[in-house]
């Protein structure tokens, strides 16, 4: 997904302005000229300058570089699904793992991703189950990372 540089320029200008607005409320340190606002303030000014330069550059090139150019994958439902699932799997983990538990969350995510990436169904199920168990064993047992059990709490091992 490619954007014209002007789009990035605009985003950076807004970001820089927002940062400048936020740091204005930061307190000074008594007896010192430099406070917590100085450094982020300088960065924000830099962002505004770079943003402006990108804006100008993108505007000049607007005939050669369209505002937005979608990649070839956006026309292929399979690839769109795969990309959405990559992001969706992480979100699913963040929101469901505590309640559902690591093992079901991981197995479901893996299965969905592999199916979207065209792994044969039988193979995908097998790999999703084994890999979830192996990663769980490695991190939970060996490295003692407290992965949640969720619905499997009664049979936690």
């Amino acid at each position: 997904m490619k954007f014209n540089d002007a789009v990035f320029g605009l985003i950076l200008l807004v970001l820089g302005a927002l940062v400048l607005a936020v740091v204005r409320s930061y307190p000074g340190i008594p007896g010192q000229q430099v406070g917590p606002a100085l450094f982020p303030g300088l960065i924000a000014i830099g962002l505004c300058i770079c943003g402006f330069m990108l804006l100008v550059k993108g505007w000049r090139e607007r005939h050669a570089a369209p505002w937005m150019r979608l990649g070839g994958w956006t026309a292929s439902p399979r690839h769109v699904l795969a990309a959405a699932l990559v992001i969706g799997a992480v979100l699913f983990y963040i929101f469901a793992s505590e309640r559902l538990g690591f093992l079901p969350t991981a197995a479901i995510s893996l299965l969905a991703l592999m199916l979207a990436m065209r792994v044969r169904p039988g193979r995908a199920v097998l790999i999703a189950l084994i890999a979830s168990l192996l990663i769980h064993a490695a991190f939970y047992k060996l490295l003692r990372v407290p992965l949640p059990w969720g619905v499997l709490t009664p049979i936690a091992w």
Partner: protein, 502 residues
């Protein structure tokens, strides 16, 4: 000194460390050989595991895995014309052309042997230069450190990227991320939006896992190109003929190693830039430049040694000043801090045994690379057949668990996801990622030294150039800043001169 050396020896040759090294080697060889997985990604994914190890095995794992991955990136480059890691991209076409001529063994062997030679050369420079530099750096005050950090960041933007403006943007974004949280000289919570998790700052490790691994998974998911075909059927004796090559191209090997180490030591530039520069140099000075691109081994010999020597080179500024030479050492610095091995000149005086151990690890890693590399080449066909559509979902799960494992926090998993998406979008649009990483790693150090210096000099900016070393560093920074402008003026001057002559 000898006591420290002995201690280092016992730390390195402990069975646990050796086991870690062997496993990390196999892991590094595998990750490097699978196209689409980079050496940086190998290290980023290793961090959550090294988190649970003592310091020396943790460093051992990272050193060996990267050395192996940079070499094994040559394998798919040679056999499939897809570089396994960006560091092999410079000579992928050359190596593939050799494969088509039936010389895959020579190409892979040259990659392996001269990777090890280059790696050892870089290590020797690291061993000699780092302690001397550290000695020198002990006299540095916040003024010198401020300029040094600024020089590192400047190099990352102006020297190593062909788009300074875009590099500047990612650098500033990285610096901004480093501002988040309580970790600033004033101890004031910045950009936390009242969120308790944000007061601790944005976790560097989840961010790097996101930027280097999740972004690759996204890239694979949207990749519509068909997979490459393996050309070679059988790879036999990779070592035969290498001695002859070494005798034929000694200058090239030395030049590649020297350039690689130097480029590696430059903040922001890593093995991939070293390989590109050195390949170009090899062609420029070659006696038979017309053979380049047709399956000629000379460039592979030179840039193969350059990319591995860059790895050791990158550790010089990392260990001495805490300034990473490339994105891998940027991650390593994060791990060193977690292990209480704060990089800097005092590391050499207070914990010399750790430094010696690091040196030994480098030597061992580059030596065991040869037998393990041969093994890897032999089973290359199998590794290359590992389906990536199975691998990528597994890597994503690994990223999630790894990010979670650092602080047992789901917030970090979110950081990883956002970093991954942002890195993917930025790279798609020609923004280099390395300056962003350097910004995050060095932002705190830059601000701290800046504020300390401001307080010391009573707000007088002249104080920043009142010490000789600080003033020289400042001059270099200004020169690098002006370099693009000077180059433009020079080109324009030459153009006018040639047009008047005509």
């Amino acid at each position: 000194m000898s006591a420290a050396l002995l201690q280092a020896f016992s730390m390195v040759f402990e069975p646990y460390t050796i086991l870690v090294m062997v496993l990390a080697s196999l892991y590094g060889l595998f990750v490097g050989a699978v196209p689409g997985l980079s050496a940086t990604m190998a290290v980023a994914l290793l961090v959550p595991v090294t988190f649970f190890m003592p310091p020396i095995p943790a460093i051992a794992a990272m050193v060996t895995a990267t050395a192996m991955a940079i070499f094994s990136g040559d394998i798919p480059g040679c056999l499939l014309r897809i570089p396994g890691t960006p560091a092999s991209a410079a000579y992928t076409d050359e190596a593939f052309a050799m494969t088509r001529k039936g010389m895959a063994e020579t190409a892979l062997g040259a990659g392996l042997v001269f990777s090890a030679v280059g790696g050892l050369f870089g290590t020797v420079v690291l061993i000699v230069a780092a302690p001397a530099l550290a000695d020198f750096a002990l006299n540095f005050s916040s003024f010198e450190y401020f300029w040094l950090v600024l020089l590192g960041l400047t190099c990352a933007v102006f020297i190593t990227s062909d788009r300074p403006l875009k590099g500047m943007v990612t650098l500033l974004l990285g610096l901004l991320v480093a501002c988040v949280g309580l970790g600033n000289p004033a101890g004031f919570p910045r950009f936390t939006f009242g969120n308790a998790e944000m007061t601790g700052g944005i976790g560097m490790i989840p961010m790097m896992i996101g930027m280097f691994a999740v972004s690759e998974v996204i890239r694979f998911a949207v990749d519509t190109l068909p997979p490459g075909e393996i050309v070679v059927e059988k790879v036999g004796r990779v070592l035969s003929g290498q001695w002859a090559l070494a005798k034929k191209y000694p200058v090239q090997i030395l030049r590649g190693s020297v350039l690689g180490t130097a480029v590696g030591a430059l903040p922001g530039a890593g093995a991939d830039i070293a390989a590109w520069m050195s390949y170009a140099m090899s062609k420029k000075f070659s006696k038979e430049p017309e053979k380049f691109g047709t399956g000629h081994v000379e460039g592979i010999v030179e840039s193969g040694s350059a990319n591995n020597s860059a790895l050791a080179g990158a550790w010089i500024p990392a260990l001495v000043f805490g300034i990473p030479g490339d994105s891998i050492t940027a991650i390593v610095i994060g791990v060193l801090y977690m292990k209480n091995l704060n990089p800097g000149p005092t590391l050499f005086t207070t914990n010399p045994q750790n430094i010696y151990a690091v040196f030994m690890l480098f030597i061992i890693a580059n030596i065991i690379m040869v037998p393990l590399g041969i093994l890897c080449i032999k089973v290359a066909k199998r590794i290359l057949r590992v389906p990536r559509n199975v691998l990528m979902p597994l890597i994503l799960l690994f990223c999630i668990v790894g990010s979670f494992a650092i602080n047992n926090s789901l917030f970090d998993v979110g950081v990883m996801l956002v970093a991954g998406i942002v890195a993917y979008l930025l790279e798609e649009n020609g923004f280099p990622i390395a300056p962003a990483i350097l910004g995050v790693v060095l932002g705190g150090m830059l601000e701290e030294n800046f504020i300390t210096s401001m307080i010391k000099s009573g707000g007088n900016l002249a104080g920043f150039v009142s010490r000789p070393i600080a003033a020289s560093l400042a001059a270099v920074v200004v020169l690098v800043w002006l370099a693009p402008l000077l180059r433009k003026l020079w080109v324009r001057g030459r153009r006018t001169a040639s047009s008047t002559a005509a």
